[in-house]
Subunit: 228 residues, 2 copies
DNA sequence: ACAGTTATTGATCGTATGGTCAATAACTGG
DNA sequence: CCAGTTATTGACCATACGATCAATAACTGT
Protein backbone atom coordinates (compact mmCIF):
# COMPACT_ATOMS: atom_id res chain seq x y z
CA UNK A 1 0.00 0.00 0.00
CA UNK A 2 1.29 3.40 -0.91
CA UNK A 3 1.51 5.95 1.83
CA UNK A 4 0.52 9.43 0.77
CA UNK A 5 2.28 12.15 2.70
CA UNK A 6 0.08 14.78 4.24
CA UNK A 7 -2.81 12.37 4.16
CA UNK A 8 -5.91 13.50 6.00
CA UNK A 9 -6.32 11.55 9.16
CA UNK A 10 -10.03 10.93 9.70
CA UNK A 11 -10.10 12.01 13.31
CA UNK A 12 -13.72 12.85 14.15
CA UNK A 13 -12.65 15.93 16.07
CA UNK A 14 -16.05 17.33 17.04
CA UNK A 15 -15.36 20.99 17.89
CA UNK A 16 -11.70 20.58 18.94
CA UNK A 17 -12.42 21.83 22.49
CA UNK A 18 -9.61 24.14 23.41
CA UNK A 19 -8.19 24.03 26.88
CA UNK A 20 -10.64 25.13 29.56
CA UNK A 21 -9.90 28.44 31.24
CA UNK A 22 -8.19 28.14 34.55
CA UNK A 23 -10.57 28.94 37.38
CA UNK A 24 -10.55 28.92 41.17
CA UNK A 25 -11.29 25.40 42.37
CA UNK A 26 -14.45 26.36 44.23
CA UNK A 27 -15.90 27.96 41.14
CA UNK A 28 -14.98 25.06 38.90
CA UNK A 29 -16.39 22.60 41.38
CA UNK A 30 -19.59 24.62 41.54
CA UNK A 31 -19.82 24.70 37.76
CA UNK A 32 -19.36 20.97 37.53
CA UNK A 33 -22.07 20.33 40.08
CA UNK A 34 -24.40 22.77 38.37
CA UNK A 35 -23.78 20.98 35.09
CA UNK A 36 -24.48 17.66 36.73
CA UNK A 37 -27.75 19.04 38.06
CA UNK A 38 -28.85 20.26 34.64
CA UNK A 39 -27.90 16.99 33.04
CA UNK A 40 -29.79 14.96 35.62
CA UNK A 41 -32.90 17.06 35.17
CA UNK A 42 -32.68 16.95 31.41
CA UNK A 43 -31.86 13.30 30.83
CA UNK A 44 -32.14 11.50 34.12
CA UNK A 45 -29.66 10.43 36.76
CA UNK A 46 -28.37 7.57 34.66
CA UNK A 47 -27.35 9.94 31.88
CA UNK A 48 -25.06 11.67 34.33
CA UNK A 49 -21.87 9.91 33.34
CA UNK A 50 -18.36 11.13 33.90
CA UNK A 51 -17.95 11.89 30.23
CA UNK A 52 -21.34 13.49 29.74
CA UNK A 53 -20.83 15.86 32.65
CA UNK A 54 -17.35 16.71 31.43
CA UNK A 55 -18.46 17.46 27.91
CA UNK A 56 -21.42 19.55 29.03
CA UNK A 57 -19.14 21.48 31.35
CA UNK A 58 -16.59 22.02 28.58
CA UNK A 59 -13.92 20.16 30.47
CA UNK A 60 -12.03 16.88 30.42
CA UNK A 61 -13.44 13.80 32.13
CA UNK A 62 -10.27 13.76 34.19
CA UNK A 63 -11.14 17.13 35.65
CA UNK A 64 -14.56 16.00 36.75
CA UNK A 65 -12.97 12.98 38.35
CA UNK A 66 -10.48 15.31 39.98
CA UNK A 67 -13.16 17.41 41.64
CA UNK A 68 -15.59 14.68 42.56
CA UNK A 69 -14.74 11.77 44.82
CA UNK A 70 -16.60 9.34 42.55
CA UNK A 71 -19.49 9.31 40.16
CA UNK A 72 -21.59 7.53 42.72
CA UNK A 73 -20.98 10.34 45.18
CA UNK A 74 -21.76 12.96 42.55
CA UNK A 75 -24.94 11.15 41.63
CA UNK A 76 -26.09 10.93 45.22
CA UNK A 77 -25.21 14.54 45.90
CA UNK A 78 -26.90 15.77 42.73
CA UNK A 79 -30.04 13.86 43.60
CA UNK A 80 -30.03 15.39 47.06
CA UNK A 81 -29.50 18.89 45.67
CA UNK A 82 -32.39 18.56 43.25
CA UNK A 83 -34.80 17.28 45.86
CA UNK A 84 -33.70 19.78 48.50
CA UNK A 85 -34.36 22.48 45.98
CA UNK A 86 -37.80 21.10 45.22
CA UNK A 87 -38.63 20.95 48.89
CA UNK A 88 -37.36 24.48 49.46
CA UNK A 89 -39.47 25.69 46.54
CA UNK A 90 -42.58 24.14 47.94
CA UNK A 91 -41.87 25.35 51.45
CA UNK A 92 -41.41 28.90 50.20
CA UNK A 93 -44.59 28.78 48.16
CA UNK A 94 -46.54 27.31 51.03
CA UNK A 95 -45.29 29.94 53.43
CA UNK A 96 -47.01 32.54 51.29
CA UNK A 97 -50.36 30.89 51.83
CA UNK A 98 -52.35 31.39 54.99
CA UNK A 99 -54.68 28.48 55.63
CA UNK A 100 -53.51 24.88 56.04
CA UNK A 101 -56.16 23.74 53.59
CA UNK A 102 -54.84 26.12 50.96
CA UNK A 103 -51.34 24.93 51.67
CA UNK A 104 -52.11 21.27 51.23
CA UNK A 105 -54.15 22.10 48.15
CA UNK A 106 -51.19 23.91 46.67
CA UNK A 107 -48.81 21.06 47.38
CA UNK A 108 -51.06 18.51 45.71
CA UNK A 109 -51.62 20.74 42.76
CA UNK A 110 -48.01 21.65 42.12
CA UNK A 111 -46.85 18.08 42.51
CA UNK A 112 -49.46 16.58 40.24
CA UNK A 113 -49.89 19.07 37.44
CA UNK A 114 -46.99 17.64 35.46
CA UNK A 115 -44.80 20.71 35.78
CA UNK A 116 -42.27 18.70 37.76
CA UNK A 117 -41.90 15.67 35.57
CA UNK A 118 -38.14 16.10 35.38
CA UNK A 119 -37.91 15.74 39.13
CA UNK A 120 -40.18 12.71 39.06
CA UNK A 121 -37.85 11.13 36.54
CA UNK A 122 -34.95 11.79 38.89
CA UNK A 123 -36.83 10.08 41.72
CA UNK A 124 -37.58 7.05 39.62
CA UNK A 125 -33.98 6.76 38.51
CA UNK A 126 -32.90 7.08 42.11
CA UNK A 127 -35.16 4.25 43.24
CA UNK A 128 -33.73 2.07 40.52
CA UNK A 129 -30.06 3.01 40.83
CA UNK A 130 -30.31 3.13 44.60
CA UNK A 131 -30.40 -0.62 44.71
CA UNK A 132 -26.82 -0.75 43.48
CA UNK A 133 -25.48 2.53 44.85
CA UNK A 134 -25.38 2.73 48.61
CA UNK A 135 -24.66 6.43 48.79
CA UNK A 136 -27.62 7.15 46.56
CA UNK A 137 -29.88 4.86 48.55
CA UNK A 138 -28.94 6.76 51.65
CA UNK A 139 -29.75 10.09 49.99
CA UNK A 140 -33.07 8.71 48.82
CA UNK A 141 -33.97 7.70 52.33
CA UNK A 142 -33.05 11.10 53.68
CA UNK A 143 -35.00 13.02 51.09
CA UNK A 144 -38.00 10.76 51.36
CA UNK A 145 -38.02 11.47 55.07
CA UNK A 146 -37.70 15.18 54.42
CA UNK A 147 -40.72 15.09 52.15
CA UNK A 148 -42.75 13.08 54.61
CA UNK A 149 -41.84 15.49 57.36
CA UNK A 150 -42.95 18.46 55.28
CA UNK A 151 -46.31 16.85 54.64
CA UNK A 152 -46.69 15.74 58.23
CA UNK A 153 -45.95 19.24 59.50
CA UNK A 154 -48.58 20.67 57.21
CA UNK A 155 -51.10 18.15 58.42
CA UNK A 156 -50.30 18.67 62.09
CA UNK A 157 -50.58 22.42 61.66
CA UNK A 158 -53.93 21.99 59.99
CA UNK A 159 -55.16 19.76 62.74
CA UNK A 160 -53.98 22.18 65.40
CA UNK A 161 -55.77 24.96 63.54
CA UNK A 162 -58.94 22.90 63.63
CA UNK A 163 -59.17 22.49 59.86
CA UNK A 164 -58.18 18.85 59.59
CA UNK A 165 -59.35 15.83 61.46
CA UNK A 166 -56.98 12.88 61.72
CA UNK A 167 -55.60 10.73 64.48
CA UNK A 168 -52.43 9.75 62.67
CA UNK A 169 -50.77 12.60 60.77
CA UNK A 170 -47.64 10.57 60.32
CA UNK A 171 -49.35 7.75 58.47
CA UNK A 172 -51.50 10.10 56.46
CA UNK A 173 -48.35 11.91 55.36
CA UNK A 174 -46.81 8.64 54.23
CA UNK A 175 -49.94 7.71 52.39
CA UNK A 176 -50.19 11.03 50.60
CA UNK A 177 -46.53 10.91 49.65
CA UNK A 178 -47.01 7.41 48.33
CA UNK A 179 -50.01 8.45 46.26
CA UNK A 180 -48.11 11.36 44.78
CA UNK A 181 -45.07 9.31 43.90
CA UNK A 182 -47.10 6.46 42.48
CA UNK A 183 -49.34 8.63 40.34
CA UNK A 184 -46.38 10.63 39.10
CA UNK A 185 -44.46 7.50 38.21
CA UNK A 186 -47.45 6.35 36.19
CA UNK A 187 -47.67 9.73 34.51
CA UNK A 188 -44.07 9.38 33.43
CA UNK A 189 -44.79 6.54 31.07
CA UNK A 190 -48.51 6.78 30.66
CA UNK A 191 -49.99 10.17 30.32
CA UNK A 192 -53.43 10.14 31.77
CA UNK A 193 -55.04 13.54 32.09
CA UNK A 194 -53.24 15.52 34.78
CA UNK A 195 -56.54 17.07 35.75
CA UNK A 196 -58.12 13.70 36.39
CA UNK A 197 -55.20 12.64 38.56
CA UNK A 198 -55.43 15.84 40.54
CA UNK A 199 -59.13 15.41 41.15
CA UNK A 200 -59.10 11.85 42.37
CA UNK A 201 -56.11 12.64 44.52
CA UNK A 202 -57.74 15.70 46.04
CA UNK A 203 -60.85 13.75 46.86
CA UNK A 204 -58.85 11.08 48.62
CA UNK A 205 -56.90 13.56 50.68
CA UNK A 206 -60.03 15.49 51.58
CA UNK A 207 -61.43 12.30 52.94
CA UNK A 208 -58.22 11.48 54.82
CA UNK A 209 -58.16 14.90 56.45
CA UNK A 210 -61.85 15.08 57.22
CA UNK A 211 -62.36 17.98 54.86
CA UNK A 212 -65.58 18.79 53.02
CA UNK A 213 -65.80 17.63 49.42
CA UNK A 214 -63.87 19.80 46.92
CA UNK A 215 -62.13 21.73 49.66
CA UNK A 216 -58.85 20.87 47.94
CA UNK A 217 -59.77 20.52 44.33
CA UNK A 218 -59.83 24.20 43.55
CA UNK A 219 -56.57 25.41 42.00
CA UNK A 220 -54.42 27.63 44.22
CA UNK A 221 -55.33 31.35 44.20
CA UNK A 222 -52.07 32.58 42.74
CA UNK A 223 -48.75 31.26 41.48
CA UNK A 224 -46.25 31.65 44.33
CA UNK A 225 -42.57 32.36 43.63
CA UNK A 226 -40.47 29.56 42.22
CA UNK A 227 -36.69 29.36 42.26
CA UNK A 228 -35.59 28.88 38.64
CA UNK B 1 12.88 -12.29 27.42
CA UNK B 2 13.22 -16.02 27.50
CA UNK B 3 10.25 -18.05 26.49
CA UNK B 4 9.71 -21.08 28.62
CA UNK B 5 8.05 -23.89 26.78
CA UNK B 6 4.94 -25.29 28.38
CA UNK B 7 4.53 -22.10 30.32
CA UNK B 8 1.26 -21.73 32.20
CA UNK B 9 -0.90 -19.15 30.52
CA UNK B 10 -2.72 -17.22 33.26
CA UNK B 11 -6.11 -17.41 31.62
CA UNK B 12 -8.67 -16.83 34.38
CA UNK B 13 -10.75 -19.68 33.05
CA UNK B 14 -13.53 -19.79 35.63
CA UNK B 15 -15.01 -23.24 35.21
CA UNK B 16 -14.04 -23.74 31.57
CA UNK B 17 -17.68 -24.04 30.46
CA UNK B 18 -17.84 -26.88 28.06
CA UNK B 19 -19.95 -26.61 24.97
CA UNK B 20 -23.64 -26.43 25.69
CA UNK B 21 -25.68 -29.46 24.74
CA UNK B 22 -27.49 -29.13 21.47
CA UNK B 23 -31.20 -28.66 22.03
CA UNK B 24 -34.28 -27.99 19.94
CA UNK B 25 -34.54 -24.26 19.29
CA UNK B 26 -37.89 -23.86 21.04
CA UNK B 27 -36.54 -25.44 24.19
CA UNK B 28 -33.36 -23.39 24.15
CA UNK B 29 -35.31 -20.22 23.56
CA UNK B 30 -37.60 -21.08 26.44
CA UNK B 31 -34.63 -21.73 28.70
CA UNK B 32 -33.07 -18.42 27.81
CA UNK B 33 -36.27 -16.56 28.55
CA UNK B 34 -36.72 -18.40 31.81
CA UNK B 35 -33.17 -17.50 32.77
CA UNK B 36 -33.83 -13.88 31.88
CA UNK B 37 -36.90 -13.93 34.10
CA UNK B 38 -34.98 -15.33 37.05
CA UNK B 39 -32.19 -12.84 36.59
CA UNK B 40 -34.58 -9.91 36.40
CA UNK B 41 -36.36 -11.00 39.56
CA UNK B 42 -33.11 -11.62 41.40
CA UNK B 43 -31.12 -8.56 40.39
CA UNK B 44 -33.40 -6.22 38.54
CA UNK B 45 -34.06 -5.54 34.88
CA UNK B 46 -30.84 -3.63 34.46
CA UNK B 47 -28.79 -6.65 35.55
CA UNK B 48 -30.26 -8.54 32.66
CA UNK B 49 -27.37 -8.06 30.26
CA UNK B 50 -26.55 -10.18 27.26
CA UNK B 51 -23.56 -11.67 29.04
CA UNK B 52 -25.27 -12.18 32.38
CA UNK B 53 -28.16 -14.04 30.80
CA UNK B 54 -25.76 -16.12 28.74
CA UNK B 55 -23.63 -17.09 31.69
CA UNK B 56 -26.62 -17.94 33.87
CA UNK B 57 -28.03 -20.05 31.07
CA UNK B 58 -24.69 -21.83 30.58
CA UNK B 59 -24.41 -20.60 27.05
CA UNK B 60 -22.46 -18.13 24.93
CA UNK B 61 -23.57 -14.50 24.63
CA UNK B 62 -23.74 -15.07 20.92
CA UNK B 63 -26.40 -17.71 21.40
CA UNK B 64 -28.58 -15.40 23.44
CA UNK B 65 -28.19 -12.79 20.73
CA UNK B 66 -29.07 -15.47 18.22
CA UNK B 67 -32.36 -16.33 19.87
CA UNK B 68 -33.46 -12.86 20.91
CA UNK B 69 -34.02 -10.00 18.49
CA UNK B 70 -32.31 -7.54 20.83
CA UNK B 71 -31.72 -7.03 24.51
CA UNK B 72 -34.28 -4.28 24.56
CA UNK B 73 -36.87 -6.67 23.18
CA UNK B 74 -35.89 -9.32 25.70
CA UNK B 75 -36.08 -6.81 28.51
CA UNK B 76 -39.51 -5.63 27.46
CA UNK B 77 -40.76 -9.16 26.99
CA UNK B 78 -39.33 -10.33 30.32
CA UNK B 79 -40.95 -7.43 32.10
CA UNK B 80 -44.28 -8.27 30.49
CA UNK B 81 -43.96 -11.93 31.40
CA UNK B 82 -43.23 -11.16 35.02
CA UNK B 83 -46.13 -8.78 35.39
CA UNK B 84 -48.57 -10.98 33.49
CA UNK B 85 -47.63 -13.74 35.86
CA UNK B 86 -48.21 -11.52 38.86
CA UNK B 87 -51.59 -10.49 37.55
CA UNK B 88 -52.53 -14.07 36.80
CA UNK B 89 -51.50 -15.07 40.32
CA UNK B 90 -53.64 -12.42 41.87
CA UNK B 91 -56.58 -13.16 39.61
CA UNK B 92 -56.42 -16.83 40.50
CA UNK B 93 -56.20 -16.10 44.20
CA UNK B 94 -59.04 -13.63 44.02
CA UNK B 95 -61.25 -16.06 42.16
CA UNK B 96 -61.10 -18.34 45.17
CA UNK B 97 -62.63 -15.66 47.36
CA UNK B 98 -66.33 -14.96 47.41
CA UNK B 99 -67.05 -11.42 48.49
CA UNK B 100 -65.72 -8.34 46.67
CA UNK B 101 -64.59 -6.88 49.97
CA UNK B 102 -62.54 -9.96 50.71
CA UNK B 103 -61.09 -9.82 47.24
CA UNK B 104 -59.98 -6.23 47.48
CA UNK B 105 -58.64 -6.90 50.95
CA UNK B 106 -56.58 -9.77 49.62
CA UNK B 107 -55.17 -7.72 46.79
CA UNK B 108 -54.07 -4.93 49.09
CA UNK B 109 -52.57 -7.36 51.52
CA UNK B 110 -50.63 -9.43 49.06
CA UNK B 111 -49.30 -6.38 47.26
CA UNK B 112 -48.20 -4.56 50.37
CA UNK B 113 -46.87 -7.25 52.66
CA UNK B 114 -43.42 -7.14 51.10
CA UNK B 115 -43.62 -10.63 49.66
CA UNK B 116 -43.41 -9.20 46.14
CA UNK B 117 -40.50 -6.85 46.51
CA UNK B 118 -38.70 -8.44 43.57
CA UNK B 119 -41.57 -7.52 41.32
CA UNK B 120 -41.65 -4.02 42.69
CA UNK B 121 -37.98 -3.68 41.84
CA UNK B 122 -38.75 -4.79 38.32
CA UNK B 123 -41.44 -2.13 38.04
CA UNK B 124 -39.12 0.58 39.28
CA UNK B 125 -36.41 -0.46 36.85
CA UNK B 126 -38.98 -0.46 34.08
CA UNK B 127 -40.11 3.08 34.86
CA UNK B 128 -36.51 4.20 34.76
CA UNK B 129 -35.32 2.25 31.73
CA UNK B 130 -38.59 2.85 29.93
CA UNK B 131 -37.58 6.40 29.28
CA UNK B 132 -34.83 5.22 26.98
CA UNK B 133 -36.32 1.98 25.71
CA UNK B 134 -39.44 2.40 23.65
CA UNK B 135 -40.40 -1.25 23.59
CA UNK B 136 -40.17 -1.39 27.35
CA UNK B 137 -42.18 1.79 27.75
CA UNK B 138 -44.88 0.26 25.63
CA UNK B 139 -44.91 -2.89 27.76
CA UNK B 140 -45.11 -0.78 30.90
CA UNK B 141 -48.13 1.06 29.57
CA UNK B 142 -49.85 -2.18 28.66
CA UNK B 143 -49.23 -3.82 32.00
CA UNK B 144 -50.17 -0.73 33.94
CA UNK B 145 -53.45 -0.74 32.08
CA UNK B 146 -53.91 -4.42 32.80
CA UNK B 147 -53.45 -3.81 36.50
CA UNK B 148 -55.81 -0.88 36.51
CA UNK B 149 -58.39 -2.94 34.71
CA UNK B 150 -58.13 -5.72 37.25
CA UNK B 151 -58.69 -3.30 40.09
CA UNK B 152 -61.49 -1.53 38.28
CA UNK B 153 -63.27 -4.80 37.61
CA UNK B 154 -63.06 -5.73 41.26
CA UNK B 155 -64.47 -2.38 42.23
CA UNK B 156 -67.27 -2.47 39.72
CA UNK B 157 -68.21 -5.97 40.82
CA UNK B 158 -68.29 -4.81 44.41
CA UNK B 159 -70.46 -1.88 43.55
CA UNK B 160 -72.83 -4.05 41.57
CA UNK B 161 -73.01 -6.42 44.52
CA UNK B 162 -73.94 -3.50 46.73
CA UNK B 163 -70.81 -3.71 48.89
CA UNK B 164 -68.99 -0.65 47.58
CA UNK B 165 -70.15 2.87 47.02
CA UNK B 166 -68.34 4.93 44.43
CA UNK B 167 -69.32 7.00 41.45
CA UNK B 168 -66.02 6.63 39.62
CA UNK B 169 -64.54 3.13 39.76
CA UNK B 170 -62.06 3.98 37.07
CA UNK B 171 -60.48 6.82 38.99
CA UNK B 172 -60.54 4.93 42.24
CA UNK B 173 -58.73 2.08 40.54
CA UNK B 174 -56.04 4.46 39.30
CA UNK B 175 -55.73 5.98 42.72
CA UNK B 176 -55.38 2.64 44.46
CA UNK B 177 -52.84 1.47 41.92
CA UNK B 178 -50.89 4.66 42.43
CA UNK B 179 -50.92 4.25 46.19
CA UNK B 180 -49.70 0.69 45.93
CA UNK B 181 -46.89 1.51 43.54
CA UNK B 182 -45.80 4.56 45.48
CA UNK B 183 -45.77 2.86 48.86
CA UNK B 184 -43.97 -0.14 47.42
CA UNK B 185 -41.35 2.04 45.78
CA UNK B 186 -40.76 3.67 49.14
CA UNK B 187 -40.50 0.32 50.81
CA UNK B 188 -37.81 -0.66 48.37
CA UNK B 189 -35.31 1.81 49.75
CA UNK B 190 -36.81 2.64 53.08
CA UNK B 191 -38.29 -0.13 55.04
CA UNK B 192 -41.08 1.18 57.09
CA UNK B 193 -43.16 -1.42 58.83
CA UNK B 194 -45.15 -3.35 56.22
CA UNK B 195 -47.98 -3.64 58.71
CA UNK B 196 -48.20 0.12 59.09
CA UNK B 197 -48.30 0.59 55.35
CA UNK B 198 -51.03 -1.97 55.00
CA UNK B 199 -53.15 -0.34 57.68
CA UNK B 200 -53.05 3.18 56.39
CA UNK B 201 -53.65 1.91 52.90
CA UNK B 202 -56.62 -0.19 53.94
CA UNK B 203 -58.17 2.73 55.74
CA UNK B 204 -57.86 4.94 52.70
CA UNK B 205 -59.39 2.36 50.40
CA UNK B 206 -62.21 1.67 52.82
CA UNK B 207 -63.02 5.32 52.70
CA UNK B 208 -62.80 5.42 48.90
CA UNK B 209 -65.16 2.50 48.57
CA UNK B 210 -67.60 3.60 51.22
CA UNK B 211 -66.80 0.63 53.41
CA UNK B 212 -67.05 0.54 57.21
CA UNK B 213 -63.82 1.04 59.11
CA UNK B 214 -61.52 -1.99 59.23
CA UNK B 215 -63.54 -3.86 56.65
CA UNK B 216 -60.31 -4.36 54.72
CA UNK B 217 -57.64 -4.38 57.36
CA UNK B 218 -58.16 -7.96 58.43
CA UNK B 219 -55.69 -10.34 56.80
CA UNK B 220 -57.19 -12.70 54.22
CA UNK B 221 -58.72 -15.93 55.57
CA UNK B 222 -56.34 -18.32 53.83
CA UNK B 223 -53.35 -18.35 51.53
CA UNK B 224 -54.62 -19.02 48.02
CA UNK B 225 -52.51 -20.91 45.46
CA UNK B 226 -49.49 -19.17 44.02
CA UNK B 227 -47.68 -20.13 40.84
CA UNK B 228 -43.99 -20.55 41.75
C1' DA C 1 11.31 38.26 34.84
C1' DC C 2 11.45 34.40 37.15
C1' DA C 3 10.18 30.48 40.34
C1' DG C 4 6.69 28.17 42.59
C1' DT C 5 2.14 26.60 42.79
C1' DT C 6 -1.62 24.24 40.89
C1' DA C 7 -5.64 23.85 37.59
C1' DT C 8 -6.05 21.17 33.65
C1' DT C 9 -5.05 17.68 30.41
C1' DG C 10 -3.75 13.41 27.43
C1' DA C 11 -2.79 8.94 27.54
C1' DT C 12 -4.00 4.86 29.25
C1' DC C 13 -5.99 1.03 31.97
C1' DG C 14 -9.43 -2.51 32.91
C1' DT C 15 -13.92 -3.58 32.41
C1' DA C 16 -18.43 -3.66 30.50
C1' DT C 17 -22.01 -3.21 26.96
C1' DG C 18 -24.85 -5.07 22.57
C1' DG C 19 -24.07 -7.10 18.34
C1' DT C 20 -22.20 -9.79 13.96
C1' DC C 21 -20.35 -13.60 11.41
C1' DA C 22 -17.68 -17.25 9.66
C1' DA C 23 -16.30 -21.53 11.55
C1' DT C 24 -17.31 -25.63 14.21
C1' DA C 25 -19.49 -29.64 15.90
C1' DA C 26 -23.47 -32.18 16.97
C1' DC C 27 -27.12 -34.13 15.49
C1' DT C 28 -30.47 -36.39 11.33
C1' DG C 29 -32.09 -38.94 7.47
C1' DG C 30 -30.82 -41.77 3.80
C1' DC D 1 -21.49 -44.59 7.37
C1' DC D 2 -21.78 -40.60 5.20
C1' DA D 3 -23.80 -35.95 3.70
C1' DG D 4 -26.65 -32.38 4.89
C1' DT D 5 -28.63 -29.52 8.26
C1' DT D 6 -28.20 -26.47 12.00
C1' DA D 7 -27.39 -25.40 17.04
C1' DT D 8 -23.53 -23.45 19.04
C1' DT D 9 -19.37 -21.05 19.38
C1' DG D 10 -15.00 -17.99 19.27
C1' DA D 11 -13.15 -14.14 17.59
C1' DC D 12 -14.14 -9.80 16.81
C1' DC D 13 -16.02 -4.85 16.49
C1' DA D 14 -17.33 -0.30 18.13
C1' DT D 15 -18.62 1.93 21.98
C1' DA D 16 -19.04 3.19 26.65
C1' DC D 17 -17.90 3.31 31.61
C1' DG D 18 -15.08 5.07 35.93
C1' DA D 19 -10.65 5.98 37.26
C1' DT D 20 -5.50 7.13 37.74
C1' DC D 21 -1.29 9.77 36.91
C1' DA D 22 2.54 11.97 34.99
C1' DA D 23 2.94 15.89 32.13
C1' DT D 24 1.61 20.48 30.88
C1' DA D 25 0.32 25.20 31.02
C1' DA D 26 -1.67 28.98 33.29
C1' DC D 27 -1.72 31.58 36.83
C1' DT D 28 0.67 34.05 41.63
C1' DG D 29 3.78 36.40 44.40
C1' DT D 30 8.11 38.27 44.63
Amino acid sequence: MLVTLGEEVPVPQQTPRRRAARKPPEQRAAEIRATARELALADGLSAMTLRAVAQQAGVTPALVAHYEPSMEALTAETFAVIVREEIADVKAAVAALAAPTERVGYVLHTLLDGSRDEVTAVWVDAWSLGRRMDLLARAVREQTDAWQQLLRDLIVAGRDAGEFVTDDPDSVAWLVLGMIDGLNAHALVHYRDARARGLVMSRAVESELGLPRSALSKPPPSKPPVTP
